[in-house]
């Protein structure tokens, strides 16, 4: 009998391949081929020993072909191979890093969300350094069907062991019912937000919410973000958006949506204008954030920036990033510009002055400013503060 998990080959980096071979009657043997053997050989063998004991496996040869995997990835690959060998569903879980135990408010800004393939440990390690507001560990489209189980374990280990530097910790689960099993691997490990793909009916959201409730024994603080990716989903947008109080945002996925319509996705995006408007309106009506699809060009930063500007102008609160280089541009596109901030600051100062003087009417010079304009200016200044674009003491620049 022989079982395996993980990845091998010349192009594989920071990952490993684990094979367990039945050797009845012999003591356990570990064969380690690793390009970091001189530096980490002992610690890798210790990990294998510890996990052999955990899974109570005897009489095997364990082959580890390691291309420089970090411990969270090594353990994930070993766990899957050992689970297969011992037909066990026991989980070998690392402690949670203390810095991974933060919470975030449901209405936190979500300008950029960076997709990280759920079975790619190398890309996970540095996911937090690019400054995206959220990181999505993706179990759905970026993981091939035969790797789904391995990816669940890897994503769980990443949630425990990788510091995402304060980003919102998101996981995109598989379509139901597989997605419900995914939840068992992520809900206990401080996932902030679960993305539900290809959502077409409010019942799907309810199923996810109930499963989370069950796993967390009623102690549920996981947010939901359904993704609408079909014509039917668009028609049901408002019902989906209001299906659960845990929903904080509603997203649209345009690759699948345009496929559903039978049209090409274009840069002008006229084919999806209706759907995107509908999502924006449904989300705002439900009091949650509308979130735009991903933009596929990552070679040209200016194009990403334009797309983000247009998306923001339509009413979206953020969009997806398929490559880390997009993050900077998307964040910029969804942040207020220097001119907008300056204008807003002047309005806020005039508003504060009027309040102090007990006047109901806000005016700049001889020009009156309407209340909704004041409201928007307050939000702009607040956003600029949150995104670190202005100093806390910005008012001092306008004194004298």
């Amino acid at each position: 009998m022989k079982v395996s998990s993980g990845k091998r080959g010349d192009v594989v980096r920071a990952d490993c391949f684990v094979e367990v071979i039945n050797r009845p009657g012999s003591p356990n043997k570990i064969v380690l081929k690793s390009k970091v053997k001189a530096l980490f050989g002992k610690s890798i063998e210790e990990l294998v020993q510890k996990m052999l004991a955990f899974y109570e496996i005897n009489g095997v040869e364990v082959l580890v072909e390691d291309s420089g995997a970090l411990p969270f990835a090594l353990a994930a690959r070993i766990e899957k191979a050992f689970q297969k060998y011992s037909r066990s569903s026991k989980q070998f879980v690392f402690d949670m890093l203390p810095e991974n135990q933060y919470t975030i408010p449901g209405n936190r800004y979500r300008r950029s969300r960076l997709y990280i393939p759920g079975n790619n440990p190398k890309m996970m390690v540095n996911a937090g350094i690019y400054g995206s507001d959220a990181i999505i560990l993706d179990l759905e489209d970026s993981v091939s069907p035969e790797k789904k189980e391995e990816a669940r374990i890897l994503v769980r280990n990443a949630l425990c062991q990788i510091d995402f530097k304060g980003a919102e910790r998101m996981v995109r689960i598989n379509q139901l019912p597989a997605g419900l099993t995914d939840l068992e691997y992520i809900v206990p490990y401080n996932v902030h937000t679960v993305l539900i793909p290809k959502c077409e009916l409010p019942e799907q959201v309810i199923q996810v919410a109930e499963k989370i409730q069950q796993i967390s024994a009623g102690n549920n603080s996981v947010y939901l973000m359904p993704i609408i990716e079909s014509a039917l989903g668009v028609e049901k947008a408002y019902q989906i958006a209001t299906a659960s109080p845990s929903i904080v945002a509603l997203a649209i996925g345009l690759e699948d949506y345009t496929a559903d319509l039978g049209v090409q996705r274009t840069t002008q995006a006229t084919e999806s204008f209706y759907a995107r408007s509908r999502i924006v309106n449904a989300a705002r009506a439900a009091g949650i954030q509308p979130i735009d699809s991903v933009f596929s060009d990552f070679e040209n930063g200016e194009k990403v920036l334009n797309a983000a500007h247009e998306s923001k102008a339509m009413g979206f609160a953020g969009m997806g990033c398929i490559h880390p280089v997009q993050v900077e541009w998307v964040n910029r596109g969804f942040s207020p510009s220097g001119k907008e901030i300056e204008k807003a600051q002047k309005i806020v100062l005039a508003f504060e002055k009027a309040q102090k003087e007990g006047r109901a009417v806000v005016a700049i010079g001889s020009k009156m400013v309407d209340p909704p304009v004041v409201k928007r200016a307050l939000k702009t200044v607040n956003d600029a503060l949150v995104f670190g674009l202005i100093e806390k003491e910005w008012r001092s620049l306008y004194e004298n």
């Binding site: 970091v36 001189a38 530096l39 980490f40 291309s67 420089g68 540095n126 350094i129 880390p324 670190g388």
Partner: protein
């Protein structure tokens, strides 16, 4: 016999005797200044050479025999064709055929294509290599299989060693893309054009015998001449001297790695925010993917601010050429061309100037160009808490890279090493480098994807960086983060046998390399 070790000024233990010769341990940066006269080869007389100037002989073998190829000689070749070199291997095929033993190979650099020479190292045709040991040759030597010790020098250090007589070249074989029968030769034209022949300059002047091999013989005169025929003994016409496509190595493409792009962006932002990129500044970036991306970010900054560089020191490639042609720099001072665009530009553009290790790097010159460069971007396999850096060995002890011009570039005004904090699981910022190649006092800034560490000696840069949003951290913080992610590495198992030494730019020994236990 066990080699006696002495501790040098950097605290490293180095052998007193290397390949039978007494050496001088490293004394500190700028401390060692030899006072003797420079070395010179034997006097030659025109009367000994063909009256009609025709120095053609029928084959490389005939030339080597005429040059007196014999046991124990030092033979030099050059790396203008990088991994596309076809001459060095042929030279030693001939030596083997003639039964010559114990040669010293003195290349300006070696490449994976020279794996062909390993059987000659095994059978005693070649005793040892003095020069960079890339890939397979480095692995061979690291495992203690080479008879003599490897001697690693920088490009400038190679010139220094030739000039002060530390290395006496018996026969230099210069592969030339174009030459005439007199021996005038150039690298900027011909089917195998590789740019320039600067690395062969010292060899042409100081070797006892000089052979020029070419596959493009032109009628006298070969103009321009980068190598002067007056230094040349024999000229050989061969079918093919090199594969020009292979002078482009894999490292001359822009990186696609998001981490490296991020490091490149951070480096460029640092340079911009601390005022290093001023109108009329100069810079040098290496050939690695990250360095090339930094060059692109520099271009953006120059375009946006309307500034231009006075000169780029290169390693030229299509990106540098574009800057020259777009007017973003006045000159390229080129030491080696990394792609065919660089070759074309050097041939066509008078402001794309060919230089040599003498002008750029040599310690025995009266100054050199590398010192004048404002910002230099270099790589490293390891950096330690004292900002010391390693470029020749990996953390597992294997010697896998040459020094190139790296040590010489440390003398420019601001030295920046953009490096990943860890490679897969191997930390790059460490307690102490495995092999010391560059003293920390010459290294100013380390840029990683998780923060920038500035050498405490550079108070000016620290003050400037404070006024920015740049993620400045201490080198110790970076090291601790690397270990937190990767784990604390074990020490590699090495034997006591010294398999190689690293020379400093002045010819002293800065560190030694031990055999890896296999």
């Amino acid at each position: 016999m066990k080699t006696k070790l002495i501790q040098n000024a950097a605290g490293r233990w180095v052998p007193e005797i290397v390949n039978g010769r007494q050496t001088i341990p490293f004394k500190g940066v700028g401390k060692y200044k030899p006072t003797a006269k420079k070395y010179a080869p034997a006097i030659s007389s025109c009367a000994d050479f063909p009256a009609d100037g025709n120095k053609l002989v029928s084959s490389l073998k005939v030339a080597l025999v005429k040059a007196g190829l014999a046991d124990g000689m030092t033979i030099s070749t050059h790396h203008h064709f990088r991994n596309g070199d076809l001459i060095a291997n042929q030279v030693f095929d001939i030596a083997k055929e003639l039964g010559v033993k114990n040669l010293v190979w003195f290349p300006s650099a070696s490449f994976p294509c020279h794996e062909h020479l390993i059987p000659y190292l095994e059978d005693g045709t070649i005793h040892h290599v003095e020069g960079s040991m890339n890939g397979p040759l480095g692995r061979f030597a690291s495992e203690g299989k080479m008879k003599g010790m490897a001697v690693l020098r920088s490009h400038g250090g190679r010139y220094q060693a030739i000039q002060d007589g530390e290395v006496k070249i018996d026969i230099a074989v210069i592969a030339a893309p174009t030459a005439d029968f007199f021996g005038n030769a150039t690298g900027d034209r011909g089917d195998a054009a590789c740019g320039l022949l600067g690395f062969a300059l010292a060899d042409s002047q100081y070797a006892e015998k000089v052979i020029v091999a070419t596959d493009n013989l032109v009628p006298f005169p070969c103009v321009p001449w980068q190598i002067q025929g007056n230094y040349v003994d024999y000229v050989v016409q061969v079918e093919k001297i090199g594969i020009p496509e292979k002078i482009v190595s894999g490292t001359t493409r822009i990186t696609k790695s998001p981490d490296r792009l991020y490091i490149a962006r951070l480096t460029a932002e640092f340079c911009n925010a601390t005022g290093l990129i001023y109108d009329g500044f100069s810079f040098q970036v290496g050939a690695g993917g990250t360095s090339l991306s930094i060059g692109l970010y520099f271009q953006d900054i120059l375009r946006k601010t309307g500034r231009k560089a006075r000169f780029i020191r290169a390693g030229s490639n299509k990106y540098a050429v574009k800057m020259l042609e777009e007017g973003l720099t006045d000159y390229i001072l080129d030491g080696q061309t990394f792609d065919l665009e660089g070759v074309r530009s050097m041939r066509e553009n008078a402001n794309h100037v060919n230089t040599s290790p003498f002008t750029s790097y040599n310690y025995h010159g009266k100054g050199n160009f590398a010192q004048l460069v404002d910002v230099v971007i270099l790589g490293a396999t390891e950096v330690d808490l004292n900002f010391n850096a390693n470029v020749v060995t990996h953390s597992d002890g294997y010697m896998l890279h040459g020094i190139g011009g790296w040590q010489n570039c440390l003398f420019s005004k601001c030295v920046i090493l953009p490096v990943p904090l860890f490679r897969d699981r191997i930390p790059v910022v460490v307690d102490e480098v495995t092999t010391l190649c560059g003293p920390g006092e010459l290294i100013d800034v380390i840029v990683t994807e998780r923060g920038i560490a500035i050498n405490p000696k550079r108070i000016d840069l620290i003050e400037k960086a404070k006024r920015t949003n740049l993620p400045v951290r201490t080198i110790r913080e970076l090291k601790e983060e690397a270990e937190k992610i990767c784990g604390q590495p074990e020490k590699p198992t090495l034997t006591d046998k010294i398999i190689g030494v690293v020379k400093w730019v002045d010819g002293t020994v800065i560190d030694s390399i031990k055999q890896v236990k296999t």
